[in-house]
């Protein structure tokens, strides 16, 4: 009766306070915003790649002043009147307020090392980078814009997968974006994909896997099914680097893993190769 169950005490411990977004989850170094910005959001101590917002990413890739954004005002609708614990429209509005974006992808024209290209860059901060109708449509428009202007498409992915709140229409963005890539192929243009953390589920199972060249950032999770779900459904013991870019490279699913500062020069080289 007086026996004390220590496990309960352990369970009752308050969860550790959430980490500040500027604190490195690997080595716990802490940075000011301007330090991180100057370092392209890479930890100076251990090399951890912090998530990078779409516009910051574009600025780090393109020649200064060369970016011209397209279809910035495309907004999602709520085709199902979807309501889980909160209405989808409310989640959308909140994401727009907190990110300043209309949806989880930014597309537009730019130049890298003097060579024109089209860019499609995803932003994980907008509802986990999930792909709904707007992401599908804007990615497809980026393919068309690249085809019309006769330039390659550079795609940077970061997404948890399809946006459940749009139901079956979000699944239809997989074939939609695949068809857009095939139209780009017909126009004779290349696509180069850079996979940032995380590139999973519906996005990996559609356009992200279809680049002529597939690049990834170190430590990025690149998996159709993430480790938690695999573990829960199959009770398999997972290898240590399960689903990470490093494992994907070893198994032949990527061409290279690049530290963030190497990405722009590499894209410059590839644009010359495909030019």
């Amino acid at each position: 009766m007086s026996k004390i169950d220590v496990s309960i005490e352990t369970d009752d411990k308050p969860a550790p306070p959430p980490k500040h977004p500027n604190t490195c989850p690997e080595c716990h170094s802490h940075y000011r915003d301007d330090e991180l910005e100057r370092a392209q959001w890479v930890c100076a101590q251990c090399g951890h790649h912090f998530p990078m917002r779409a516009h910051a990413r574009i600025t780090s890739l393109v020649d200064e002043g060369s970016f011209y954004e397209e279809s910035a005002d495309l907004h999602s609708e709520d085709p199902l009147g979807f309501f889980d614990l909160r209405p989808y429209t409310e989640r959308l509005a909140e994401a727009e307020m907190s990110t300043g974006l209309a949806d989880a992808i930014v597309i537009g024209q730019g130049a890298i090392e003097g060579r024109g290209c089209e860019l499609a860059v995803m932003d994980f901060a907008f509802m986990g980078g999930s792909m709904g109708s707007v992401v599908g449509e804007k990615f497809s428009r980026a393919c068309d814009s690249a085809a019309e202007r006769g330039v390659p498409l550079i795609t940077v992915t970061s997404s948890g997968g399809a946006r459940m709140q749009e139901g079956i229409l979000s699944l239809m963005q997989l074939p939609k974006t695949v068809c857009a890539v095939e139209d780009l192929h017909d126009a004779g243009q290349a696509m180069i994909v850079v996979m940032a953390h995380p590139t999973t589920a519906g996005v990996l199972a559609s356009f992200a896997s279809l680049g002529d060249v597939l690049l990834a950032e170190p430590g990025a999770l690149i998996a159709f099914t993430g480790p938690r779900v695999v573990e829960q459904t199959t009770r398999e013991k997972l290898p240590e680097d399960f689903g990470l870019a490093e494992q994907n490279l070893r198994f032949g699913h990527l061409d290279a893993i690049l530290e963030r500062p190497q990405i722009r020069p590499t894209l410059g080289r590839l644009l010359r190769v495909f030019g």
Partner: protein, 311 residues
């Protein structure tokens, strides 16, 4: 806010569905009263109980599976095995046969009837090897001009360590790309569960059909409930919210037609279910048979590229 082009198209489609007594050109096959019943169902907004009934019927253990339909509909069936790389995935069947006097290639997921077969076929959840098997059958079908039929029946692509290491995401993407490129008529029908990426991998087709009680969804009701409600027990609520039933998929323009089932569901009468499916498949292939390959590719891509609702 002005209605988007897609929305206008949807409204136009709906008004057509609601006013025309016999669905012009009848992508729905069967007798008059069956069509009328179908139409009544489309006209009524399905309730959450109707939707959940579809989920249960779509997963019914006695429901006909791909090989049941193959047996009933195709003559001279010859099953093709293996992906010519790593193995032969039991969750995906593929082969050639005659539908009437036309040679077709058929691919489809296959669940198992008993526990041994279910284990061997991973409950109809393909590995990348399964999708590569489908792709390597699409290729000669395109070369020989055989129409392609896909029967979709999967809870989803297999979520395992080896599946990831063998490139599940890439296989699903490439399979869709190969289908987008095919210059032969392609017809897909969801005959049970159309589970997410595992389903769409073989469903990028000229005509996409669903059986009356099939479901087609981006995530399983349980998975959606676990993520959004943080409780897998709320599956019924989740299903009512994301509406995976055939009537809603038709309304959203995701499918082109609904294939009727015998009253009570396909499991009650396998022979009749196969007859109805066969009618719809033949009809769809007939409609596409004389369209030139380039035009098929163009229309197919335009159709999928129009899906989505935005402003």
């Amino acid at each position: 806010m002005a209605p988007s082009e897609h929305e206008l198209r949807l409204r136009e489609r709906l008004s057509r569905l609601r006013n025309v007594p016999l669905l012009g050109g009848a992508r729905l096959s069967g007798e008059l009263e069956r069509l009328q019943r179908q139409l009544d169902r489309i006209q009524q907004e399905p309730t959450s109980d109707d939707i959940w009934r579809s989920v249960e019927l779509a997963r019914h253990p006695e429901r006909p599976y791909t090989l049941d339909y193959v047996g009933a509909l195709l003559d001279d069936w010859f099953e093709l095995h293996g992906d010519r790389g790593d193995g032969d995935d039991g969750a995906m069947v593929a082969g050639l046969g005659k539908l009437g006097d036309r040679t077709v290639a058929l691919v489809g997921q296959q669940k198992g009837r008993d526990i041994q077969e279910r284990t061997r076929r991973q409950f109809g959840m393909p590995y990348p090897e399964g999708y590569r098997k489908a792709m390597r059958v699409f290729e000669p079908a395109g070369r020989h001009g055989f129409p392609v039929i896909s029967l979709v029946d999967t809870p989803g692509a297999y979520p395992g360590v080896a599946a990831e290491q063998h490139g599940q995401g890439g296989a699903i993407a490439t399979s869709q790309l190969v289908m987008a490129r095919l210059a032969v008529p392609t017809v897909a029908c969801v005959i049970g569960e159309g589970g997410s990426g595992g389903a769409i991998a073989i469903a990028l087709a000229d005509r996409v059909l669903m059986q009356e009680n099939a479901i087609y969804s981006v995530i399983s009701p349980e998975g959606c409930a676990a993520i959004l409600w943080r409780d897998a027990g709320e599956a019924k609520k989740a299903a009512a919210a994301f509406k995976p039933d055939a009537a809603h998929c038709l309304e959203l323009g995701v499918i082109d037609g609904i294939v009727p089932e015998p009253a009570g569901g396909a499991h009650t009468d396998h022979v009749e279910a196969a007859r109805l499916l066969g009618d719809s498949l033949r009809e769809a292939i007939e409609e596409l048979a004389d369209v030139p390959g380039d035009e098929l590719r163009r229309r197919r891509r335009a159709k999928f590229r129009s899906l989505g609702v935005y402003a």
